[in-house]
Symmetry: C2
Amino acid sequence: MGASLNRRELIAAGAAAAAAGATPASAKSARRRRRRTFDVVVVGAGLAGLTAARAVRAAGRSVLVLEARDRVGGRNLDHPLAGGDGVAELGGQSAGPGQDKVLALAKELGVATFETYSDGDTVYYRSGQRSTYSGDIPPANPAALVEIEATILQLNQMAAEVPADAPWKAPHAAQWDIVSIADWVAEHDNTQEARDLAALAVRGVYGEEGSQISLLDLLSAITGVGGDFNTLIGSAQSIRFVGGPQQLSIKLAARVSRAVRLRAPVLAVSRGTGHVVVHTAHDAVRARQAILTPPKPVLDRIRFTPLLAPALDQLLQRQPMGSVTKVNAIYDAPFWRGDGLNGAVVSDTGPVQIVYDNSPPDGRVGVLVGFMEADHSRAQYAVSPAARRAAALQCLARYFGPRAAAPRDYVDMVWDLEPYTRGAYGEFNPPGVLTSLGAAAAAAPGGPLHFAGSGWSPQWPGYMDGAIRSGERAAREALAGL
Amino acid sequence: MGASLNRRELIAAGAAAAAAGATPASAKSARRRRRRTFDVVVVGAGLAGLTAARAVRAAGRSVLVLEARDRVGGRNLDHPLAGGDGVAELGGQSAGPGQDKVLALAKELGVATFETYSDGDTVYYRSGQRSTYSGDIPPANPAALVEIEATILQLNQMAAEVPADAPWKAPHAAQWDIVSIADWVAEHDNTQEARDLAALAVRGVYGEEGSQISLLDLLSAITGVGGDFNTLIGSAQSIRFVGGPQQLSIKLAARVSRAVRLRAPVLAVSRGTGHVVVHTAHDAVRARQAILTPPKPVLDRIRFTPLLAPALDQLLQRQPMGSVTKVNAIYDAPFWRGDGLNGAVVSDTGPVQIVYDNSPPDGRVGVLVGFMEADHSRAQYAVSPAARRAAALQCLARYFGPRAAAPRDYVDMVWDLEPYTRGAYGEFNPPGVLTSLGAAAAAAPGGPLHFAGSGWSPQWPGYMDGAIRSGERAAREALAGL
């Protein structure tokens, strides 16, 4: 784990005693605690789990949240900047228009928002040439621009017939699900520049190569964000949170306070008659309903008794996480602004091809955030952290000049190394999975078990907003089951 | 689990004591046993694991095999026929020319082979019409036959440039890996009948829809079986084992005798300095080297300390198992032979589209084996075993007349319900995976850990022969590391 903001020890005394080897007295208290049946147990203290826990608590029901890590927030993780003001976000960071749930939650919790810095020109880097441009349209070859425009239009038109909550019901679902995004792009875009820009956009959305992702998944995602591909690569990143979005989880956790138990990775879930038992290495928590929020490849490692329905078992083998390494370079000032630049980069040369100005709102220090995505992220597995840093700074220097090579601080996060996340940005559907198994996911998992997390939300899948929606839905289901 | 042939309790006394709650004496013996360090621990008592264990033992080294189930054999599972002679194979059953390893092992262990019954005509069922044909070419529309022939030729030509041990190095790897098999077939075959026959063949090879599988994976598999697609759908099934192939595992297990511990599912593997500890629910086994043979989605559930390399973690999220339900209908006699039929079926109507004569060699009883594959298998999840049986027998009656609807016995196996297999026939690569992560698998996992199993074999991947090869390779690696 990188930085950890919230190390409060919330492990209940009984659990600690059980782990350490019970004395007669503590064994008795452990037995008493074990006998307790919570109304709802929630696995995972990210936005989905904490949203659900709060809703359960608000309904007057008892809840316990088990979190594997020593912090809350899941894929939200903020790194405090030296000097005290502001953070660099190492995980999810942005919101945008239409993400009503996360914006409402921020307002309610007193977390202010601000606009992502965008004054000035964007750097376009291609074939070893650096140029700059204003507005949204990069100075690409006109033929490539026409193709990109047509591609986006066509994707949006196709998405219009794809229901986000049941993409397999689209009239052309079978046809669109056998095709990978990369294959479809190769068919529809003839210029290499258009293909490269499309691949870059897809990596920016998924953290994965378009070769691995079903076209139908992308169409469903477009529907899920309101119908326009441009939202995915543009306005969805336009709003940031003062002090960082991990605060949302920290403040939610404070509201359910002692109900959050950290360092409690769940190994197994067993269903009894009228109750569920959730097992950690040291403890067994009994509840009437259970909400499970880990990302699907993490969820897939939990042993269920009885087994999950076979369709779910097959589905969980088939929805991997992408691969993202997020880098933040911190400077004494956002010097690029003085050069007339907004800090954003669109590049064909990795490992960092996408950059934004990630400075705190007052701009007293300057932060550039860069993304190594999919194969670019994986290519760094074999190198040392120092070499990874050098590779990232070499990219930044290429885009912003030699000052960018000497930040006062640097911090990165390889999400693929996180055993309780296993990648980023989120889960995706490889070709053929939605049409073969998507309906099974929609019905999942039944009884006292409820799955949540941004990957289960038809609206804003993979976003904080989607995580909140999924947590609210799961809480409604669990409460209805009590 | 279905039938279990080999229930001998091989759990060591110490482990049983540890599980049951130790008395002072047994605690002492448990401590002594825990202190023992095996040269090699093998996880999984299928053909890969047992082949490896035997090689380790043959080299004069100590070995322990941990098997999750209460039987050996992995995906080989034979159901004894009432009356005593012969078995119905519920799992892997066939071999063919070129599968030198499995044929040599059978010879060595005294398991005779015989030819799959093939005298007479095959049933072809399409659009509600039943016909029969002799030889290999079904009575399809001539245009469809020409397309199928051209498709196979082209696949074989493409495969010729794909090295089975490194398909990502093929000159056109990037181009062929972004395409699903179903997409490629849709591009190259215009007649629906050719497309249907191709889809049927792909399901027969993988137990999965072509929509989910990379074209590059198929080309690599063609190379892995000697270069001809026809081998995959034909001669690879031409040889059977008298008394069933599970005997190979049972006889191998007998040779390493007390080294096999059943009912010992492995939960975690931790690496220390110079040793590995393999943890089950009740025990911890220490060894200098470890060979892990579970299918990849099962392997992915084992917790590794330290974590597996991130490329392997990503890979194991991306190689699912197909979906197969195998049905055997047992009759007093192979009555279809008297009708001039060889028992084989090629059909466009599910859930059973592929059938073979699966009678024991003396033909005293008749057995038809049918396969529900991919979406056909998954479509049966929701129905009762009785309804599944009825659906299967309805298919057989459609192909062989009313006598087929009334077998004297019926047994089926839903491999997707097996938590230590999670599907069948084997693992496959979705589009984009081989080019993004294949090289990582080739290097995996390093140090004292070695992966084996049919899914790790470039030659005869997914076959018993491949499993044996992978076990021999892993044993060589482990012995070299001692």
